[in-house]
Assembly symmetry: C2
Homo-oligomer: 367 residues x 2
């Protein structure tokens, strides 16, 4: 049995509805790789036989005093692998004569430390961790084409990683996200997401926490609940189930923007019950199918989990996922320019109600 073997703990307990093995190993340069397999799972004990130099660089975190925001300076990332041909994909399983980042013939979901991390535990500065989450061993897959059971495994993996990464010294926020599409700068086409464990609370969750607290002080009210209740009753719902609602937010910044909220307030992914995880998968796969149907083309998007900060505001937080796209019409992207980049003032190109109505009218996906 390889080092690091244990059962993955899901809400219904180890070995319950979805018995899952979690097997950890080290790559040639010391980075961790963790295989997550639904049973029956093979043993993941093949060694990484590549010659890799250990990397110790990480970002330097600086503070922009005028805007009150940290900025990570990660100069070493300039050299990262950029859109390699399919037969050189580093996230595909290893084939005879072609070793990759994953020293196994196949896998279900695998997590590995990023080779060009912005944050890492093994550096004097930029403490934290950056992980890659491969959703499938099939290079041609995409989140939207995953089976519900595989998508559910990904949710369980996000939960596992959130719990583990939140325990690292100095980590303030755990951020699972997916960038999809070369249009937003994805450098590897293989279906994967990433998880950043930041040594600081980034501006988006920091501002939300501030707004929620300010609203509580000023009115006694619960801002997250007010927003969610308002959207559930309003004209911008895209899809909904028993446990989740997906809507275009009232003040959407992007040509396509959909937020997914669980109906029950939870601070983070590990807190979701079994039924809530299944419910998320159904609504999310449905929404993603609608997004691809919008322009009859895979939509480039960013999907960004908003979890509670590790050490602040957990009771006030309401977990949600934000999905946004820069595509404003077939072949046309929204470029951020003077107003957005120079003033921070977003100019939305489409009425959120119209976008929601279009998405509702498209073919979704029913698991």
């Amino acid at each position: 049995m390889p080092r690091g073997y244990r059962d993955l703990v899901t809400p219904d307990g180890p070995g319950a509805r979805f018995p899952t093995r979690r097997q950890a190993a080290r790559l040639a340069d010391g980075r961790e790789i963790i295989y997550f397999d639904r049973e029956p799972a093979p043993s993941r004990d093949a060694a990484d036989r590549r010659e890799l130099t250990a990397r110790a660089e990480a970002a330097e975190v600086r503070f922009d005093r005028l805007l009150g925001e940290p900025v990570a300076i990660a100069a070493h990332r300039q050299d990262r692998t950029h859109l390699p041909p399919t037969d050189q994909c580093p996230l595909c399983p290893t084939r005879p004569g072609r070793p990759t980042e994953v020293p196994a013939e196949d896998y279900q979901v695998v997590v590995l430390e990023n080779r060009f991390p912005t944050f890492t535990e093994r550096a004097p500065a930029g403490i934290g961790r950056c992980e890659v989450v491969c959703f499938s061993s099939d290079h041609e897959d995409s989140f939207v084409s995953l089976t519900p059971s595989r998508a559910r495994l990904v949710v369980d993996v996000w939960a596992d990683r959130t719990r583990e990464l939140a325990r690292l010294p100095g980590v303030r926020w755990v951020f699972p996200f997916e960038n999809r599409g070369a249009e937003i700068g994805v450098t590897l086409a293989h279906p994967h997401g990433q998880i950043y464990a930041y040594p600081y609370l980034p501006p988006v969750p920091a501002r939300m926490l501030e707004q929620v607290r300010r609203h509580r002080r000023a009115t006694g009210g619960d801002l997250f609940a007010e927003v969610l209740d308002g959207e559930r009753a309003g004209p911008r719902v895209v899809a909904a189930g028993e446990h989740w609602t997906a809507f275009v937010p009232e003040a959407a910044r992007w040509p396509v923007e959909v937020h997914l909220y669980p109906h029950r307030r939870v601070p983070d992914i590990p807190s979701l019950t079994d039924a809530e995880r299944d419910g998320f998968v159904a609504v999310y796969l449905d929404v993603l199918a609608r997004l691809d149907a919008l322009h009859h083309d895979p939509l480039p998007y960013v999907a960004a989990w908003q979890q509670a900060p590790v050490r602040a505001g957990r009771a006030a937080w309401h977990l949600h996922l934000r999905v946004l796209s820069i595509r404003r019409a077939p072949g046309k992207l929204k470029h951020l320019a003077g107003s957005e980049l120079g003033a921070g003032a977003f100019l939305g190109d489409l009425r959120p109600e119209d976008v929601a109505a279009r998405l509702r009218g498209l073919a979704g996906r029913r698991g």
Copy 2:
């Protein structure tokens, strides 16, 4: 003499060092056009003979309660003119048989209301104004290739427009900016900038004002002065003159980012003296030449003036210009993705000190 004629008031008074005429007229659909000419100036009284329908749409301003920021929803802008061929440029002077937005055979600097405005005075919502500032009648020009005297006229025009627009009811911030390059979504190649008069204080100046006030309360100190003094004494200066210093900021977010500060604290462009305006022109043209030399190619950039809010914090403010580029290497752009768009956490790709040293080593321009 056309309607709206008057001398442009520059710091040394009307008709002093740079006698300048300011002649205003209306385009066929009622929008204002204002010609600014150094004397001797021809009379700008040619009528716009096009048939144009008056437009009354403007953005709807919504408020993102969770992030605490206004967002302008400007659906009508989807139809705006997109990269027309050079012989159909709407900002070139009118030629026989080819009327443009500028019903004159030639011009020096001309300002006109945007045909697809996000904000306008003539709408029930989205009150404010959006103007286009043409820097030159020559389609092939660029700010960096302007003569110092023409660039100085542009500064005087920004001052005039800032003063006028700040007087409009409901305007909270006046924002002169330039987007350059198709890579950031510029839809018209003619050398021009824009001015937005917002009915709200956008996030970037709002946050700066908050940080400056917070710092004053916490330490009694002057944040703008501390930042500027630190940068002037530090390793990131790119160019400097008697009245201005240009530097790469310590926590730069962009592959190329240069801030230009006047040494004397002033709230806005109208407050700059004659010598400070000339000094800006010399340093800015020098910096722009270095930016184009960086990759031996015209650099796509956003240049964004940070002026004091119209009705708040004027005494605490320090005018500056921020120039940023998304080009991180020849042929490569910085894409904003999960960390920036989903978390607001910028990952800088280059060390600011290295960028400053490279820019210092390049050929600039001495007026």
